[in-house]
Subunit: 306 residues, 2 copies
């Protein structure tokens, strides 16, 4: 049987890594014994916490794939976010929860649903195929849903995500709330990163109409801790704006406990933020109350006002 590479997006997060492992296991259980999970980059600290907690090894790093290799994509579908040479791969399946950003010249298995997390879909696939969800698999699924929905508090959360967490909670023998908060906190530890590294951790280039922009998000348990680095962050952001000829750089510092985001915004079009949220930037910064989701609460609103 030919090997099948299962992987998520570049700059992997907890959903991408755990979904690769959980999907590869599903394939193996269903008879595709050569399916194996891979990752396209370094683990973040939150994901490392999850794998350490469960004593699971990280998937192997994958940098490129051969022509015609069999692949299964999870938690992404855009070629831009995928492995090098994906254009020449044989994509067998896609399981994802993002907008559709790919085309094929052949029919394939595509399962995309507008839910908060890929694992909510994988949970259904396990059920539909009568494959056992072991406590470890349940923990991986739960971790990803907690991560993507910030403990079910993000507006990306759907009733299906909540239902799935409730059902998964029956399968593990711990308080998922407490575990989840520790996991999220582990992901907010910035102490070992340099300023340039922090500004790359979860940076997405998202053009707001014709304005070339980067919107970056950093989770924290204390906005104050991050704001102590404000000057250094701004210096580095100015450099990035110059190097990449950006119109706007927006850094969201998201308080995962209280569900707010402090933003630092620089660039010629920083005023889009003021119009979008009806706030006044003082010293390049403002608090956006209740804003935690870049996908739902930032990109569409910023695009509208760009």
């Amino acid at each position: 049987m030919a090997k099948t590479y299962v992987f998520g997006h570049k700059s992997p997060d907890t959903d991408t890594i755990t979904s690769s492992i959980v999907m590869a296991n599903l394939e193996v259980q269903l008879g595709n014994t050569e399916a194996k999970a891979y990752r396209l980059g370094n683990l973040n600290k939150e994901t490392q916490y999850v794998l350490d907690y469960l004593d699971i090894e990280a998937p192997e790093l994958l940098e490129t794939i051969d022509d015609d290799a069999n692949v299964i994509l999870v938690d992404h579908n855009s070629p831009k976010e995928s492995v090098e040479n994906i254009e020449n791969a044989n994509i067998q399946k896609i399981v994802d929860h993002h907008k559709v950003a790919f085309n094929t010249s052949y029919p394939l298995y595509v399962r995309i649903e507008p839910v908060g997390c890929t694992q909510t879909i994988l949970y259904k696939l396990y059920k539909e195929n009568n494959v056992e969800i072991t406590p470890k698999i349940a923990f991986l699924m739960l971790s990803a849903i907690i991560s993507d929905t910030l403990l079910l508090k993000s507006p990306t959360t759907t009733p299906e995500d909540i239902q799935t967490v409730e059902e998964l909670n029956e399968l593990i023998k711990e308080d998922y709330q407490e575990y989840g908060l520790e996991m999220l906190k582990a992901g907010t530890d910035l102490s070992t990163f340099t300023i340039p590294e922090i500004l790359k951790l979860d940076a997405k280039q998202i053009d707001l109409k014709d304005k070339k922009s980067i919107i970056n998000q950093v989770n924290t348990a204390s906005i104050d801790d991050v704001m102590q680095m404000k000057e250094e962050l701004e210096d580095e952001i100015q450099k990035i704006i110059k190097d990449e000829e950006l119109d706007l750089f927006m850094l969201l510092i998201t308080d995962i406990i209280n569900s707010n985001s402090q933003v630092i915004v620089l660039g010629e079009h920083a005023d889009i933020v003021e119009k979008a949220y009806d706030v006044k930037l003082e010293d390049n910064t403002a608090l956006l109350e209740g804003v935690v989701s870049r996908k739902k609460q930032v990109v569409p609103i910023m695009t509208k006002h760009a």
Copy 2:
């Protein structure tokens, strides 16, 4: 509750029409009570036979849709094959078995599987959602699978299609083989069509690399009957080639009983057929033994030799 338009592709066939009806019913059963099936063109005779047999009314004709209308696409996903103004619609779901040829700016429900017929997927959706498959719904599903797979003989047939037909057959009280053959034969009746109409019934513009081509398919229970019109068909094909500046026009006359296709091929690059199938065109025609599927046995092979 806002209205939801459920429809398949232009030049509707039996899968497209029945899938619209079956999907709309699933939505209604699941609480989306304003879901309704539509069609984008006239019924072909095979589909008319099915609806007459079951005493079901044809879906209403839809020519365009309003901006932001809620739509569910079945049996297609390419905007080119969809309704006018689809770009501005709010696509809620897609259930299909073709290659992926669309993009969105938002996540949605996408269920595409590489099986022979959309109804094979809809059968699973009914099961997954515990929605009753009434005898009429079963008959609609069965009709489409028979149509798309030519009674399970086309190479597009998958084990899942076969399994689904077996399970559906339990739900109806008739011999599906006999019904299926009558249905397919009804679809081969060309007596009321003019020559130009015949050449448009199932014509797909498919560019073979840089060669502008039309590949048309007509099902028949008797190749001889259709070949009696050969001269008139060729005259009209020459006109189309001139008007549309084609490099190639290929007409497949497919014998649904014996699973062969006689082809009539005209245009400057007609020799592609000779290379692709290792045959000699005599008087612009040749018999391609065992060839019944345009998707699987014609387009990829013709493209390779173009």
